[in-house]
Amino acid sequence: MRARSDGRDGMRLKLFWPLLAVLFYFALTTAAMAQAPMAGSISSASGAVQIQRASGLIAATSGTPVNIGDRIITGAGGHAVITLTDGSQLEVGESSNMTIDNHVLAPAGGRAETKVSLFGGVLRSVVSATGGTPNFEVHTPNAVAAVRGTRWDTAYTEGESRPTYGDCHKFSDVVVYEGVVTLRNNNAPNGIDVPAGYEATVPCDVQSTLPGPIGMTGARGLGTAASAVGSNPSPVVGGVPPPACPVCPPMPATTPPPLPAPPPST
């Protein structure tokens, strides 16, 4: 009996340490996940792309997890695509700086809330259409773009001048490709709906401009130069008028040209 008891104790002792290790591992990972839940991962990265988190600065490569609270920084020529856990995608342009502030999935797997902050550069958001009405916001230092659509660019620039904006040197631009984005200044209670095919700008601390067609108001999107004064299309260039003379004088068919006058006789 005693021998059997000793055997059980030995077995318990053998199981104790692995069990403790497993529990310790789960405790650690759970604590880590509670601090920074995973929002998604890097789908592709090229050029200088880094993730800044509490543990330090790490280089981002394809497959690198992205947690809530992470700051994604791209350098000149850098470009990254982040796929969130609900299937939405964030495409970060060069020289950009953004954080994922919140990304909570609804119990059914749909999206409950996503909040992203853009501190500089350009960000294209492709919001997953599944999971009900999107609650997806991109914040910049002077504007909030709340989506009711699925694909749009947000850009934030500081220190540049734009015609007709006076002394204002910071601009949040939104370019909408699909759906509708409500754009408002941080201090404004209501926003302006920007439909697909249009763009709008929040200059400094004033309300958003009315939307204008893409590429024509000087707003910046992914792949377009900052502060370009849009003028496309340009009907004049190439619209060369036909040569002059819509109605040419009829030829004098029966009247011969006058003969030169004879030289004066001397």
């Binding site: 015609p163 009315l210 204008g212 130069a225 190439g238 619209g239 008028p241 002059a244 003379c245």
Partner: protein, 265 residues
């Protein structure tokens, strides 16, 4: 001498009217802005320039004559507000039976005339969305004229769902003394990620030289612009001095952003 003065007067009048319209229309909506508001960094040459290549072509057909034209334009930005451009255009002109050479009246009827036009000048971005092109050049081939040209394009109410474009193009031919001016006004009907659709009306008028008074034509037009390929086109039909006519133009733009200069590490 009198004819030369008349030509110059007609050219100047056309260009001035066009320029005033281009300036006055947007100016009314920008009256509250100062020079610095409208032209920040006016004299600053940007680090990164832009070369824009535009290929274009089109045709015009009427009861009395027909033309086709094709060419390309190179424009180099200097500042945000000023660019310099050069344009080379080839023209083919088919005359109706019994008509004199319109390029050089008095030299008789020719079934077809071929000529080219080389010109160069400046593109002035005088208001946001408003460009004014001034250029001069010379014809070669069946025409030997010196030409001056003024073109303008202005987008009004840019921050709206349906902006309106007013454009004009006026060219004076010093060989036949005719000033040809084309005007057009269109509104954007629909804007999407991929395309723009516009509709409006326009036409051309001709005066000076062998034309007594003013001739012209006009009608409705429809335009499109396909953003991904930067291709645009316009179709117009109407009636005028040359009776029924139809006109088609298209163009393709290519923007080349020049690399910014490298900075020392």
């Amino acid at each position: 001498m009198t004819k030369v003065l008349e030509n110059l007067k007609a050219t100047a009048t056309t260009l001035i009217i066009g320029a005033l319209m281009i300036i006055a229309l947007p100016a009314s909506s920008h009256a509250q802005y100062s020079f610095n508001d409208l032209y920040p960094d006016f004299f600053k040459i940007p680090d990164q320039g832009r070369l824009t290549v535009t290929g274009f072509g089109g045709g015009y057909v009427s009861d009395k004559y027909a033309t086709t034209q094709e060419g390309f334009q190179l424009e180099q930005s200097i500042t945000r507000y000023v660019g310099v451009f050069g344009r080379l255009t080839g023209y083919e002109l088919w005359e109706g039976g019994g008509f004199d050479n319109p390029l050089n009246p008095g030299t008789g009827h020719q079934a077809r005339l071929n000529f080219g036009r080389g010109q160069g000048g400046f593109d002035l971005n005088i208001w946001p969305g408003t460009h004014f092109f001034i250029s001069a050049g010379r014809d070669f081939g069946d025409s030997h004229s010196v030409v001056v040209e003024g073109d303008g394009s202005s987008w009004l109410m840019l921050h709206s769902l349906h902006p309106i474009n007013f454009s004009f193009s006026s060219v004076h031919d010093y060989q036949n003394g005719v000033t040809s001016t084309e005007v057009d006004i269109q509104a954007i009907l629909k804007s999407t990620e991929k395309y723009l659709l516009m509709a409006g009306g326009g036409g051309a008028f001709y005066m000076g030289g062998f034309i007594h008074g003013t001739d012209g034509q006009g009608g409705p037009d429809l335009s499109f612009y396909w953003r991904p390929l930067q291709i645009g086109g316009s179709i117009q039909a109407g009636y005028g001095s040359a009776h029924q006519y139809g006109q088609l133009t298209f163009y393709k733009e290519l923007d080349i952003n020049e690399p910014a200069p490298r900075t020392a590490p």
